[in-house]
């Protein structure tokens, strides 16, 4: 037996490890397992069911199964008059209800060729942003709770109430305002509302600052969300991802700035936030910045609120002239649009609802391939969907 050189020893050790690895691979080779999450699971906020085929800890294939909340909006809208439809569509994205009404009303206004007076447009925009805050604050708490931090969700529920109170003070509804009318708004603002809202916005800004430290500054949160669920911009666009999900992939596109709808966003000074990373962390970060930006938009809108009527001249019984129109706005979850086909009747002939979550979540089969089981939760939470917005 001759002495073995250092090089050779290293080589032998390498071969031995390889062999051990190969043996281990043979020994622990597992059969595929099917993991069913939902239809009622806290991580799916509502009733999304996810069937994932696993190989060990890795997802081979994942498929969301929805329809547990399908209520048939598009059919129901065909048998309801235009004002009745607004009542219904409040309940699509139930966290930011007012934002659902606006694109529908805008599409109907396009067909009727009326435009809301400036004051109505400004108040509309302010309420739109308030419902964005009411929506996204819950996301900020909810994603943290899904990554194991329980406290943020309590704080989100606490501070969300300030905004809900303001929405309720104007519209009478905490959740479902049904306040938007074709040609304007139902009522003007109540007395003292502007000051109260500004105070509430102050609180929301504090909330954002707190979350920036508490959640984004948290090591565990960062470790679990950085680099998880990366969406390349071109893939995201071809799947129809919109809103903060696509802005977190570095696409500088926001319908509030780039859309042509009659809202007052071009009258205030604000900024579209993007993030180049495209991972779960970026999506959380963008939404947090957007919430803070929304408070600034509301403040500026309330400062410059024009006076005047809040309702344009529209007939008492609304008949929308024949035609087709599509209007879309940047809702809290992404692009929401309504394609209305009218035949000149009291009821719409066909309403196609383009809801953001449906497209946002359609990327999951692609995105969940090859990720680890705990990351499923991170990715689903960070894509942020509302079941009513998926299933309609």
């Amino acid at each position: 037996m001759t002495a073995v050189g250092a090089d050779q020893r290293q080589q032998m050790a390498y071969v031995a490890t390889q062999a051990a690895d190969a043996r281990l691979n043979v020994e622990v080779e597992t059969e595929g397992m099917t993991l069913n999450i939902g239809p009622q699971h806290p991580a799916t906020h509502g009733t999304l069911r996810l069937v994932a085929r696993l190989d060990g800890e890795q997802v081979v294939e994942a498929e969301p199964i929805m329809g547990y909340m399908h209520r048939g909006y598009e059919k129901l809208a065909e048998v309801r008059t235009y004002p009745q439809v607004t009542t219904l569509i409040n309940r699509i994205d139930w966290l930011g209800s007012f934002a659902n009404e606006v694109p529908f009303i805008l599409a109907a206004e396009k067909l009727m060729e009326v435009e809301a007076p400036p004051r109505a447009q400004w108040i509309r925009t302010a309420l739109f942003e308030l419902s964005r805050i009411a929506n996204i604050t819950l996301f900020l708490g909810d994603m943290a709770v899904q990554l194991g931090a329980l406290t943020p969700v309590f704080m989100a529920f606490r501070d969300r109430e300030f905004v809900l109170n303001q929405i309720e003070a104007v519209t009478g509804g905490r959740f479902h305002p049904n306040f938007d009318r074709i040609g304007g708004l139902k009522d003007d603002l109540p007395q003292g509302w502007i000051n109260d809202t500004k105070q509430a916005m102050e609180k929301i800004r504090d909330f954002c600052d707190e979350f920036e430290e508490l959640v984004l500054g948290n090591e565990i949160f960062e470790a679990r969300s950085r680099g998880i669920g990366i969406v390349p911009p071109e893939v995201g666009l071809s799947y129809g991802l919109s809103g903060a999900n696509i802005r977190a992939s570095g696409v500088d596109w926001d319908l509030r700035r780039d859309g042509h709808e009659a809202l007052a966003y071009d009258q205030v000074d604000w900024k579209v936030w993007t993030h180049p990373d495209g991972d779960s962390f970026a999506r959380y970060w963008v939404r947090l910045q957007e919430t803070r930006e929304a408070t600034h938009i509301v403040d500026q809108l309330l400062d410059g609120l024009p006076s005047g009527p809040i309702m344009a001249k529209v007939p008492r019984i609304i008949k929308v002239p024949a035609g087709e129109a599509y209007a879309a706005t940047e809702n809290p979850l992404g692009e929401m649009g309504y394609y209305i086909v009218s035949k000149g009747d009291l009821v719409p002939f066909r309403v196609k609802i383009r809801s953001a979550s449906f497209s946002n979540i359609s990327i999951t089969p692609w995105l969940l391939k090859g990720v680890y089981v705990p990351d499923i939760i991170t990715i689903l939470a960070s894509l942020y969907f509302i079941l009513g917005d998926i299933d309609r």
Binding site: P39, H45, T47, H70
Partner: protein
């Protein structure tokens, strides 16, 4: 439980048992739609705080739950899951139907895919109206249920008689 089952339990003892059951309700959340968020506010928000009523909102599974709150729109596709949930709960079990959709179909009364009321499939003890009900309304529903439990004859439920409450 032989005494309770036979219905021969003395009244003070029944009261005592009911008092115990009343203030230790394990509540399972079956959040389906908008109402789920208001239910979340009841559970998660410090402003409403359901635990002060002696309700514990976090059972690990329906098999440990006394009460289930069906909050939101029940669709035909969801019905089998709800039936299974109800069958898994141990007796005595209670159901609160929260919101118009779970009560009767609500704004989707004419929809092709919505079940017009969860009471078509499982018995409901308390209906909470509203679309969605305010968190306070759900709290009142829970208080009503507690009153009902307090005045209940446990033996009746044991025998499977129709439940009559004084």
């Amino acid at each position: 439980m032989g005494l309770v089952a036979s219905g021969k339990a003395p009244k003070p003892l029944t009261k005592l048992l009911n008092l115990g059951r009343k203030y230790s309700i394990w509540m399972y959340q079956w959040g389906l739609a908008c109402c789920a968020i208001e239910m979340g506010a009841v559970i998660g928000s410090p402003r409403y705080d359901v635990m002060r009523l002696g309700v514990i909102p976090f059972p690990a599974s329906p098999r440990q739950a006394d009460l289930v709150v069906i909050s939101g729109t029940v669709t035909d596709k969801m019905v089998p899951s709800i039936l299974r949930l109800y069958q898994q709960m141990p007796d005595p079990k209670y159901v609160i139907s929260m919101g118009s959709c779970a009560n009767c179909g609500g704004p989707y009364w004419d929809s092709y895919s919505v079940t017009k009321g969860v009471d078509q499939i499982i018995p409901v003890d308390v209906y909470v109206p509203g679309c969605p009900p305010r968190p306070e309304a759900l709290l009142e529903g829970i208080v009503l249920l507690q009153e009902r439990i307090m005045n209940e004859d446990p033996a009746a439920r044991w025998r499977g008689d129709p439940i009559v409450v004084d």
